[in-house]
């Protein structure tokens, strides 16, 4: 059976409207459906023609506020970042307005030639992949489970997800830091007291693998609500009938998921996954706060590394260069995301 076409019609929110015909999003203002009212033809035509000219401008007017706001706030800082990365700006230049010397590609060659930088990049990639896989895996699993659990269980779980989502990073991280503490941490207490393992005084930070397990826990815990709730909503759009029919046709659980469920939730899944990649790649606060505001070098991730170069080594230019490199590294993902974005733009 071919169930790959997303069974779109279940767009519940605008309500019971049957949405006739393919939703051909491209609206051509001139060809208003003559159907309904039999209004006087000629003046209306003139009116619409007049509107067509205005219509050419209208989209620009509509994006203008957003565009202006983005440009006013972000465009110049962005350009400034690029300029700074080709200069050597330290505190003195920043404060006195003294012209900063131009150094060409020196910042970039310095960074790219620094062994530590590449260690940081690999570590960041690894951490990001692990976090994204865990977040998306658990999120998807929970979303599917939520469909199948008793109502009150689902309500309780949704409540917990919501509450977790609303905690400020600072607070959530402090709490996880206590959990992981060697002397008074709840993790060690539970492992020792309830599971009979000897974890008394165990320090989770000495070995960065264990340390990143703890940091990953905060990151994943903090991201699951968004992923689970979103995917749950996506799953509710999968038509029950199709699933049941597929099951009757002898498709196993995996088959049903592969041919019925996945095609429906795919766009949402991709979107959420891409955002997770971006967020987890730029993780900063969780590491910084978990390590008591002074992370050891083996806990350096890209976000921290660029921060450290900018503020602690007094080279705002290096910080700028690193963030531009980060953007380039992310642009692989970005291109994918963009294609999704544009493709969707085309489809209508």
């Amino acid at each position: 059976m071919k169930a790959a076409e997303p069974p779109v019609p279940g767009l519940r929110q605008p309500g019971e409207r049957p949405a006739p015909g393919p939703a051909d999003g491209v609206s051509v203002p001139g060809v208003a459906t003559p159907s309904s009212t039999g209004s006087t033809p000629s003046p209306a035509g003139a009116g619409i023609r007049g509107k067509r000219n205005a219509g050419a401008l209208l989209p620009y007017l509509l994006i203008a506020p957003a565009f202006v706001a983005i440009a006013a706030v972000f465009v110049w800082p962005l350009i400034k970042t690029v300029i700074m990365s080709f200069q050597d700006v330290g505190r003195r230049e920043l404060w006195t307005g003294d012209p900063a010397p131009w150094v060409g590609f020196e910042q970039f060659t310095n960074i790219l030639g620094d062994g530590e930088f590449w260690d940081v990049v690999w570590r960041t990639l690894l951490f990001m992949v692990a976090c994204v896989v865990a977040t998306m895996g658990i999120g998807l699993f929970l979303a599917q489970a939520m469909q199948r659990m008793t109502n009150w269980v689902r309500l309780a779980l949704t409540g917990a997800l919501v509450a977790a989502w609303s905690l400020p990073l600072l607070v959530a991280t402090s709490i996880f830091r206590w959990f992981a503490d060697s002397d008074y941490g709840v993790v060690n207490m539970v492992l020792t007291k309830y599971l009979g393992l000897d974890f008394r005084g165990h320090n989770w930070w000495l070995d960065p693998k264990q340390g990143f397990l703890m940091i990953g826990a905060v990151v994943v815990w903090g991201a699951i609500p968004f992923v689970a709730i979103t995917l749950y909503a996506a799953l509710t759009q999968v038509p029950k009938e199709l699933e049941e029919a597929a099951a009757l046709d002898g498709a196993g659980a995996a088959g049903v998921f592969r041919y019925v469920t996945w095609p429906v939730i795919k766009p949402v899944f991709q979107m959420v996954a891409t955002l997770s990649v971006i967020w987890d790649f730029n993780v900063f606060g969780q590491v910084f706060l978990m390590r008591g505001n002074k992370p050891e070098p083996e806990y350096n991730l890209l976000g921290l590394y660029s921060y450290e170069k900018a503020f602690e080594s007094n080279s705002f230019s290096q910080g700028a260069a690193i963030s531009l490199i980060t953007v380039l590294l992310l642009s692989g993902v970005a291109v994918y995301y963009l294609r999704q974005l544009l493709k969707i733009g085309e489809v209508e």
């Binding site: 505190r91 920043l94 060697s182 002397d183 008074y184 505001n293 070098p297």
Partner: protein, 433 residues
């Protein structure tokens, strides 16, 4: 070379700021009653939570002379203050007066951010505590005003010492102290594996460097001939001190040895330690229910001078805060006047009354005979301080010394670890940051 350049640029900005002063000199010449505007003061949040009345006092006195000038005190937070200041100095909304930790001042002096001050305008400036004054001096000029100081002492649980040794006074020599600690450990540590007779966290580098100082070592030396700083942690004296510190950590700390000193008060409040080496005021935190302390221990916590190796007291790190004016500010005269009020003899006396060390030795003297302050006050004269070097702030931010201690605890030999640390420090310490 770079140093010279920095000095030259520093001089240039000084000129500029003098010129700016000249501009407002016209203003300054006016009757103070006619001065208008706002004086923005950045103080750390401690002033708001612990001595707000001092701020009020200074503001009241200030507006008597300058009724038209509004003083806007903005309290800053420890976590990201320097980031905020770095940003503010790049823009137009910078403060006129700023409080800086005494290890932070050098970065700002070297980059021309702070205005020169005239010590004659301040009470007791001839007896300012050296450890603080040094952090304000650069090439013979002064760029900030000492505000308050802090020194480290032994903080101990009198009941526990009495229970184990029969005496609730702390021994005055290290030999006697270790004997007492052994008794305390065997009495209270038997049942409780996490109990530490002396809670000395392994990454507590201020303590480790105190032992270095005790053996006559130091972190780095200034070489007059090459005009350069050179790290000396791998010198025999320094290595000896570090080894001594590590031995104490390994013997007496039965908690997690790889922490820094952040948990001090909590450990003692939970009666998991009989003794700490900490800032004088931490004795208060141990019993303060609003600061993770345990009010039940009130009256049971004592302070005393910390005995060090070779029969002498352990030299303490001298911490503290300074107040500075911003060189770009057009209100430098007002800023200096406000600082002089805020650090005058009366204000410093009020701080001393809260068992905080005043900025000068004259007012320190009486504290030496007051029971609650004698240990901290006595720790001041032979205190040590971090190198007044252009790149020291970068060394601290890199946590070179903390990480060195951590490596030693993990098994690296003291010799290898100190050599590696020296190499890292040498790379950073001469570059202005």
């Amino acid at each position: 070379m770079k140093r010279k350049l920095i000095a030259a640029v520093g001089a240039a900005t000084m000129m500029a700021s003098v010129a700016a002063c000249g501009g407002s000199g016209g203003e300054a010449a006016k009757d103070p009653k006619d001065r208008k505007g706002t004086l923005t003061v950045w103080l750390m949040v401690d002033a708001q939570s612990t001595w707000p009345e001092l701020v009020k006092q200074a503001n009241t006195a200030f507006s008597k002379k300058y009724p038209g000038v509004k003083v806007n005190v903005q309290y800053q937070q420890w976590a990201d203050k320097t980031k905020k200041l770095d940003a503010a100095l790049a823009g137009d909304k910078f403060p006129d007066v700023v409080e800086l930790g005494n290890t932070e001042t050098m970065t700002y002096i070297l980059n021309g951010a702070l205005g020169e001050i005239d010590p004659k305008k301040y009470d007791n400036s001839d007896t300012w505590i050296k450890g603080l004054k040094d952090t304000c001096s650069y090439e013979g000029k002064l760029y900030c005003v000492p505000y308050y100081a802090g020194a480290r002492v032994a903080i101990y649980n009198k009941d526990m010492f009495k229970g184990a040794t029969g005496s609730d006074t702390l021994p005055t020599t290290e030999d006697a102290l270790t004997k007492a600690l052994d008794k305390v450990q065997s009495k209270y540590g038997k049942k409780d594996k996490a109990f530490s007779a002396l809670y000395l966290p392994g990454r507590y580098w201020y303590a480790a460097m105190s032992y270095v100082a005790a053996y006559g070592g130091q972190i780095a030396e200034y070489d007059e001939s090459s005009k350069k700083w050179k790290a000396t942690l791998s010198s025999p004296e320094a290595q000896e001190g570090i080894q001594h510190f590590i031995d104490l950590v390994k013997k007496y700390n039965h908690g997690d040895q790889t922490k820094d000193e952040q948990d001090h008060a909590n450990v003692m409040a939970n009666e998991k330690a009989a003794m700490l080496y900490g800032n004088g005021w931490e004795a208060g935190s141990v019993v303060d229910g609003n600061a993770n302390g345990n009010p039940k221990l009130k009256d049971k916590i004592g302070t005393a001078g910390m005995p060090g190796p070779n029969g002498k007291a352990l030299p303490s790190f001298i911490g503290g805060s300074d107040l500075a004016t911003i060189s770009k500010s057009e209100n430098q005269d007002l800023a200096e006047y406000w600082i002089s009020l805020f650090t005058n003899e009366k204000s410093e006396a009020a701080l001393a009354a809260k068992d905080i060390l005043p900025n000068n030795t004259k007012q320190l003297e009486p504290l030496k005979s007051k029971a609650s302050t004698a240990p901290i006050a006595n720790a001041v004269p032979d205190a040590w301080f971090t190198p007044i070097a252009p790149g020291w702030a970068a060394v601290e931010k890199k946590e070179t010394i903390e990480l060195m201690l951590l490596d030693i605890l993990k098994g690296t030999s003291v010799e290898d670890a100190t050599k590696a640390a020296d190499a890292e420090i040498d790379e950073l310490i001469n570059e202005a940051s």
